[in-house]
Every structure is written in C-alpha cells, then in structure tokens.
C-alpha cells in the first residue's frame, strides 16, 4: 500500500504555500497596462434613475471611460441557472438582472456606473463627480409586506413580488391536512432562519483581459466553478463562444457558496477589456462585499409536526417565505425548493409531508446558496419542532428521535419527498454522539454549573442531507439549466508521474492532497508522483465545479473511472511486455505481474513503453497513457449524523458559552481523515456562527445595518470549544465507486439546531419554561430578553 493512499491523514501539500504567504490569488495577478474599475453603487434601496450626468467625471484625471447600462444594451442579463415551476405548473417569475442598473436601482449596492481609470484612486475620485438623479421609491424589505395587495413592486414588469408559490408534494396536501386534523398531538414552531453573508477571507476579484491578435478573452476571477462561469457568461451574457473565452480561477481564499455565481463585475471586466483594449481589474472591498456578494438563508417559516398517541410522526407541514433579494442569483430558486423541501423527511419515517415555499423579491442583495444551502433550513425546522415536541409531550428527545428513525435495515428508503436514501445508520451516530459527549453524566454537570451560577443545557440534532449533486437527468427535470456530472483526465507522463486534471475547484478543501491520494491508492505509487491541475478552463476538462459537497463524491468518482481506464490500458501494455495475456496481469503496489509467476514490470516501465513505443503492440493499442472520464451520479449522496451541543448560560448577561460540541458523522468512505475533520470543524464554526452571532440586518429603508465587521459578528476562535469529531459510523454510499458521501457542509447543516436546542434546554432546566424558542442568532441580548419577558 502506498503511504498516502485512501484513508491516510496526509498533510495538506498546498498549505505550505498558503501559510507562507506564497499563494497566488486573483488580486496577486497584475497585467501589463491594466486599468482599474470602480463601481458607483446605489446608496438607496429602491429608486428610479431619472438621469446620470457623467460629463464632469469624464474630465477627471486618469479617467479612461465611464460605462452605464446603455453600454450593455447588446448584452443579456445575468442568467438564472434554475427554473422552478410553481404549484399551478407555471414557471417562476424571472426578472432581468442587468450588468449595470437599467431604469431602476433595486438594492443598496446595485451597480449603476463603472468608472475605469488608470488608478483605482482616480476611478474613485471620478465616481464622486458623477451626478445621479434618482427618484427614491418605497423600499420593499419585509417579505410579508412585499406580498400584500398593492405593495410596491421591485420589478415593474412582473405581476407582483412573488417569484413562485411552490407546493411539494402538491398532491399530498389534502392528505397532510387530514392527518393533522386527526392527530393526537400537533406541535408547531414559528421561526426565522437568519440572513447571513458568507464573508470568505478573500473578497471577490475580477480581471478581464483581451488578446486582439487571437480574439481571445481571459477572465481571472475568484470562482468555485470556472467552467460554469464560462458557460453562463459566454452563452447568455456576452455571446462569446467557449473557445474564445478562458476563465482562470487560481488560488481562491474560501467560497462557501458565495463564489459559485456569475456576477456582474465578471461580465463587466471581460467586456470592458475588449472595448478599451487593455486589462481591467476590480477588487472588492469588504464594504462592497457586504452589499454585492450573494447573501444566504433568510427564511421565515412555520413548521408543524403531527404525532399519533404513541408518538409516531404522522405528518409534517412546512410553510416558508424565502427571500430572493432583488434579482435571481444563479441558483437561488433551487435552494428553498429542491435543496430544502426534499430534505423535510430528515432521518425519520414520516409518511405524509407537505412543503409550501413562497419566494419573494425584496429590495435587498440577491440571496443564494451558502454552505448547506436549503438543507440547514430544513434540518433547523425539523430538529427544533422535534425538540419542542419532546418537551411538550414530556418524553426524552433521544427516545422520540430513535422511535421515529428509519432503521438501519430499511435502506434503500424512499421518502415521501422524492429522495431515496441509499444508506445510513442513525441509531449508530446517535449512540456514538451520546457516548462521546458523556451524555449519561449530564445531570451532574448541570448541577455543578448551577453551583457556579450558570445554566447548563444540552441540545441534540440529528441530520441527513443530500449532496454530491447530482444526477443530471433528474436535476434537469427539476428545472436545472445545467448538467451536474464531473470530469477527470488522468495524464500519465513518460516517466510515470501523473497530472490529474479536474473540473472541480479547490478553494480550501485540500483537493491538491486528497485527489492524488485516490490515484496513488489505485495504482500503488506514491502520491508525491501525482499533481492536481484545476481552476483554468484552458487546461482542464469541462466540469461543474465545487459546491454541494460534491468534489470527492462526483469528481472523485470521475477520477476513479479515468484511473480504471488507465489501469486497463497499462495492463495491456504490461501484458505485451511480459508476453502474457492481459487478463493474467495483476497490479499491486505499482507493479504489474503475471499471476502465478515471478515475471513483472514496474509502473515506470509500462509508462515509458507507452510513450517510447519501440516494443509495443501498435497494431492493437494507441501509444500514450491519458484517459478522461465523465461521471454522472445515479443519485444524491446522503451524509448523516448526530450532533450534541452543551452550553452554559450566564443568567445575568444572557451570554451563551458552548462548553462542548460533539459531532458523530457518517460520511461513508473517507479519503483523508485529517482534511475531513478540518472540514467538519469549519462547518461547525459557520453553523455556530449562524446560531450565536451572524446576522445581516436591513432597516425598513433597505439600508444594511450590518455592513462591516464592526456590526456583523463573525464567529472567532474564542467563541468555539474544542470539537469532538468522529466519523467511525460509516455506511458507504452504495452507488459511487468510492463509497464517499461528502463532508463539506455537514457541520453547518447539523449544528444550528443543536445550539438552539441546548439553549432552550438550559433555560427549561433552570425553570424558564415560558421560553419556547429564540430566533437565531441567539445573542446575549436576545437570551436575556427571553428570560425576562413573560
């Protein structure tokens, strides 16, 4: 076995350059003769543009050109990649999303003019000289008010602010209502899934470049999926064919979803570089990121659970208002629907489920996927209502969950909300979490805290999620306007080293380490002989990128397919060299041998023969050793797990401290356990951030009150405990060759309800039984107010 194969905690090779400051991020790229663009953005949430006077600004020093919407009359709007069909079978309302505001501004931050100058400071100076005449209109901020009759419309050409009214499964609605009317117990929670901003460490950057002698466009951009950007921007916005458009996404400093989407600044820089015949660079400030990056979550929901007299779940009804913001971001419509409603069964056997989602346009930044994307919202609803049910029924939350779990021998399990879970063992992860968190001795710890004047509580959350997205034909039926396969090319070099080319993109996931581990394991050579190439459409095969915890499950599976093709061909070459039949050739530890003999040839001997084919079956076999595979999954993958959060509350201030957090996950096969643990840690930090600290808040006029880190609270290391993380309860995925399920989002999906459940538990144990729910973020002020408001 190679030492860095599947299952080895190999240290991340990319970290050396990241930690020593030698990464090459988009902003590190500076092209000769580049100009800088500053976007003049709307400072009002909603307004009609009456006039734009750029004449004085154009006279400012260094100004090259000022662009407005008129300069993009020929271009398409930024496309939406997913069309949702409403409960009446009608397509969603889909407004145009112009590159620069046309006629109206629709959120604070909406770009109106683009000022290109020789320096960034000159561009900013000139932008201050632009005279805007904007008639301010009433801002549509609150989703309920947005749907009232006579509400101001965000888009004048749409019927209303309702993007779609989605029912799932609409045919189940009556049966669900009937089950509720006949239920022995009905428990409900009204809750908010708080609006977030991803805030990756690296803000967005775009550099457009154009080579007139080859008619070649290049866009350097902070993207999670360069091929998707090439397809969307080339085909729908700028009408550029793929062979004339290259997208480079070099080192990217975190994405968390916010760098999936095609943004206006990318199209602008690409187009302007050609018009101006010089490269054009844009680097977002953090302040700009808050008002131009896609935001996240922002659901207002009611979740209802019906139970029979024996506490079996009989029906679930979930009703949600989902904020789309002012425009439809690339995957926005799919998040509250197909990535949310389909998860509403959770790990439980609930026979009847109905989900209604109304997606709403408001005068806020567009909302789209963020680590977990729809699944955290579903998990939060379920785990909160089950927690409340246990409390109301006076039963143990552990037992209520166990009673309703899908059992280990019931897989594959068809849920009433379209998904077929292939594998899982919820009892095992629950038991593991309880063991690792020393749940049995919780009462003693509660008592000890009480003696110290603190309120201690424990919260449980059992999740299942769907990732590894996804079967292309299925998502096509659901409205996706793209396929969701992944690709890999394995390029074996003459001396045996290997370049793996992938359509996935690593922006913190450690692919440069883990992908080679897969190939090293299969061939039996050292991983140091294998490098990963990603992030450039010019030298990688068409792939769909990295999000939805799909890279190893889908991209890794493509890599297994391609590597198997390599091994098949290499065996034929080895058979020729060893004068044996291919079916008698065995590959072990990087050596090909003839079964039952001592005849063998090593890996490098075969690869050299492939490229120096002097002794080679040229009549039967092409020279060379390079194979590409596309892998389209048969199903989603279904990671699952159980999380336990233990908190202490300071009753005088309401401050919540997480004193312990235990995560027992089932990710199926794990390639690099250390990287997986790191992914869980990061996911937990973001989930806990959502639960305790993070919140995007708009005032009634549409001004973002949390537009900097002075008011938007990112979780910090000292907000977090030392996590206990376990992934030993693995049930491998049954339909991909690795058995891998994906681990990137789990932490952010499973943790928020565990935290809130723990806070409620602590308050109830201390006698504050009137507190049924506290909306996230559970800040000290909110906890104190809840304790002191009856």
């Amino acid at each position: 076995m190679p030492k860095d194969g599947i299952g080895a905690s190999t240290k991340r090779r990319e970290d050396v350059r990241f930690l020593t400051g030698n990464g090459r991020y988009t902003d590190d790229i500076n092209l000769r003769g580049q100009a800088y663009v500053h976007f003049l953005r709307s400072d009002v949430a909603h307004g009609r543009i009456r006039a734009i006077d750029t004449s004085a600004a154009e006279e400012m020093p260094g100004v090259i050109r000022i662009f407005t919407a008129e300069d993009f009359a020929h271009a398409g709007g930024l496309p939406c990649g997913w069309q949702v069909t409403d409960k009446h079978g009608q397509p969603m309302q889909e407004p145009k999303h112009p590159i620069l505001a046309e006629g109206k501004v629709r959120h604070v931050g909406d770009p109106i003019c683009a000022v290109v100058a020789e320096t960034l400071e000159q561009a900013r100076d000139a932008a201050e000289e632009i005279e805007l005449d904007i008639e301010e209109l009433p801002a549509v901020i609150d989703m309920r008010k947005a749907l009232e009759d006579g509400a101001t419309k965000v888009h004048d050409d749409l019927n209303s602010n309702l993007c779609y009214d989605w029912g799932f499964v609409e045919e189940n609605k009556e049966a669900v209502d009937k089950a509720f009317s006949e239920a022995a117990h009905v428990v409900s929670v009204d809750l908010v899934n708080n609006r977030l901003c991803a805030n990756p460490m690296e803000a967005r950057v775009a550099i457009g470049d154009y080579d007139p002698w080859n008619d070649q466009h290049t866009l350097y951009t902070t993207s999670q999926n360069p091929h998707v950007i090439r397809l969307l921007m080339g085909a729908f916005v700028l009408s550029l064919p793929e062979h004339k458009l290259r997208i480079v996404a070099p080192d990217v400093g975190g994405g968390f979803g916010s760098k999936i989407y095609h943004y206006a600044e990318e199209a602008f820089c690409t187009h302007a570089a050609k018009i101006l015949k010089q490269p054009v660079k844009w680097t977002s400030t953090r302040s700009e990121a808050f008002i131009s990056d896609a935001h996240a979550r922002d659901h207002v929901s009611k979740i209802e659970l019906a139970l029979d007299k024996d506490h079996n779940f009989t029906a679930i009804r979930s009703t949600t208002l989902a904020n789309m913001g002012a425009y439809l971001s690339t995957f926005a419509p799919s998040i509250p629907t197909w990535l949310h409603g389909t998860l509403m069964a959770g790990p439980y056997k609930t026979p009847l489920i109905y989900v209604n989602v109304k997606a709403v346009f408001t005068n806020t930044v567009a909302v789209d996927a963020y680590r977990g994307a729809g699944r955290p919202e579903a998990t939060f609803q379920l785990e909160r209502v089950i927690d409340k049910a246990a409390r109301e029924l006076g039963v143990d939350g552990v037992e209520l969950r166990r009673k309703n779990f899908i059992k280990p021998d019931e897989f594959p399990y068809q849920t009433p909300v379209a998904l077929e879970y292939d594998s899982g063992n919820f009892h095992a992860t629950m038991d593991k979490m309880l063991e690792l968190s020393d749940y049995a001795n919780l009462d003693a710890r509660v008592q000890e805290s009480r003696e110290n004047g603190k309120l201690r509580g424990f919260g449980i959350s059992q999740y299942i999620e769907a990732c590894g997205i996804a079967p292309s034909n299925l998502v096509g039926q659901l409205g996706a306007r793209a396929g969701l396969y992944e690709t890999a090319t394995v390029r074996v070099n003459a001396t045996g080293s290997i370049s793996v080319l992938t359509g996935c993109h690593s922006h913190g996931q450690g692919h440069e380490t883990s992908f080679p581990q897969i190939v090293a394991d299969m061939i039996g050579i050292d991983a140091s002989q294998i490098d990963l190439v990603h992030g450039d459409t010019a030298n990688t095969p068409m792939g769909m990128g990295t999000y939805g915890s799909r890279s190893v499950a889908v991209g890794g599976s493509a890599l297994v397919k391609a590597t198997n093709k390599i091994i098949d061909k290499a065996k034929k070459i080895a058979a020729h060299l060893l004068e044996a039949a291919p079916e008698d050739i065995e590959l072990k530890d990087g050596k090909f041998s003839v079964a039952g003999t001592d005849k063998s040839v090593d890996w490098a001997g075969v690869t050299l023969a492939a490229y120096v084919p002097h002794n080679y079956p040229l009549e039967d076999l092409e020279p060379g050793l390079e194979e590409t595979a596309f892998y389209d999954p048969n199903n989603f993958t279904f990671p699952s797990g159980c999380y336990g959060c233990e908190v202490e509350i300071d009753p005088e201030t309401g401050k919540v401290d997480i004193v312990a957090f235990t995560a027992a996950d089932d990710f199926g096969t794990v390639i690099n356990p250390m990287i997986v643990e790191g992914q869980v840690h990061g996911g937990l930090a973001q989930g806990i951030g959502q639960a305790l600290t993070e919140h995007c808040v708009y005032d009634e006029n549409g001004q973002l009150l949390t537009g900097s880190f002075m008011d938007y609270t990112m979780p910090r290391a000292d907000d977090l405990p030392v996590f206990k993380v376990d992934h030993s309860c693995a049930t491998p995925c049954t339909h991909n060759p690795l058995g891998a399920k994906g681990c990137g989002e789990a932490g952010a999906i499973g943790s928020p309800p565990a935290v809130v459940n723990a806070v409620i538990d602590a308050l109830h144990r201390a006698g504050h039984t009137h507190v049924q729910h506290i909306d996230m973020p559970v800040t000290p002020a909110r906890v104190w107010a809840a304790m002191n408001t009856k």
Partner: protein, 262 residues
Amino acid sequence: MYAFDFVKPATLSDAVAAMEQEGAQALAGGQTLLPTMKQRLNAPDILISLNGIAELRGVRREEDALVIGAATTHTEVARDAAADYPGLAALAGQIGDPSVRNRGTLGGSVANNDPSACYPAAVLGSGATIATSKREIAADDFFQGMFATALDDDELITAIRFPIPHKAAYAKFHQPASRFALTGAFVANFGDGVRVAITGASEEGVFRWTEAEAALSDNFDAAALDGLTLPAKGMIGDLHGTPEYRAHLVAVMTRRAVAAAR
C-alpha cells in the same frame, strides 16, 4: 482614501506648530481614523503623526500617580502599568486585538472619546488629569458627550496622570462584533471615596454612576449595589442591545468590577 500630506515631527513643539496648519489632524495610532479615511468618510489635509515623539511615550511613577504619555500604546500600558496599577493595565490589555493594541494609543483613544471605548472609563473612574499642549484638564471636565471633549481643535494631549487607587477593576461586556464595550464599568476605590465610571451604555458617552459611588463609598462590596438600578432612558439602543439591556448590564458589570477589584 484621499490624498493627504504626512508629517512626523520629532518633538512636541514641532507637533504643536504643525497642528496650527489648516486641515491638520493628529494621528495618534489611527485605529479609528484610518478606517474612516479608507472609507472616504474623513479627509484631513495633513496628518501629524505623534508616534515619533519620545517625550509623549512611556509609563512612569510619580508619587501616588502613574503618568502615561499620550502616545503610549495599549500594549505598552498593559505591560508597563501592570505593577503599579493592575486594573488599568488589565483594561488596556483587553482593548481590540494585538494589532490594535500595538498601534492604538492612550491619547488617541481619549481624544476620540468613542462612547464605547474602554479608556475613557479608566480616565474618568480614576479621576485622572489630562495634560495637554495648553493646560491641564480634570477628567470630570474633559468628557463632554459622544465623541466630544474639552480639547480645542489644535490642542494635543501630552500625558494623562492617573491617581493610583487602593483597588480597582474594569469589567467589560463585549459588543460581540466590534468587541468594544457594549457596557463597561470601571470601579476605583481610593479609600476616601469610590469612583464608578460607565462606558458603552449612555447616549451621552462615558459617565459616573454617582449612586453606586455613594453606596460603595460606604461599603465596598458588590452587595452594597443590591437594588440599585439605572433608568433605561438615555441608554443606547442598537442592534446589539436595547436601552433596558444596557441599563441592566451597567449594574451587572459594576458588581463584577467591585468583586474583581484588587
């Protein structure tokens, strides 16, 4: 940021002279000023850096007081005041993060008088005296409401003289995002009287909680504060806390400061 001129005088007299120019602005660490300049919310013509002036730096003991140069960084105060005035040193060591503490200065913070800053509580709570390029100002006269002080536009703080109490402590409850004080209480027991200064809470900026001072002067024990409350009226209400919450925290943080005083 807009273009500006930058001057780094080596002596106080040069700095004072430079401040007389039109559009001059002292740069005393810049941990508030520079971010506002980067956002183009502030546009001084000339920045007069004070951190090259040796006579404005350092912590020294003068009888029963600690005199700290205005350009002394928070890190230096945290280190060099620890033996003589641990309550003050601990406060300095909790400001911002290491990079803020290595740049930000005592004089810069006090001159800015952010209603949520920590230092004004120590200055007022210690009954300190602010020495400037023109005069000496008692802390009770210096702080004049949010971001307002007794300083003239061209007046520089040179040093602050902190009488050393028998016991003191600062109790701070973080605004979770900025980690400024959502509410902070500085309590100093001088034997012949107790001073209590509150930051972060009031719309008027740092203030003395005189009822608590009276109660603690009689009995320096957290229990002496039982039943004492402040009205919510006039307290700051924002995303991070209502006026009621802040009024409540004033009492909690004051009790904790008393309990922690040494």
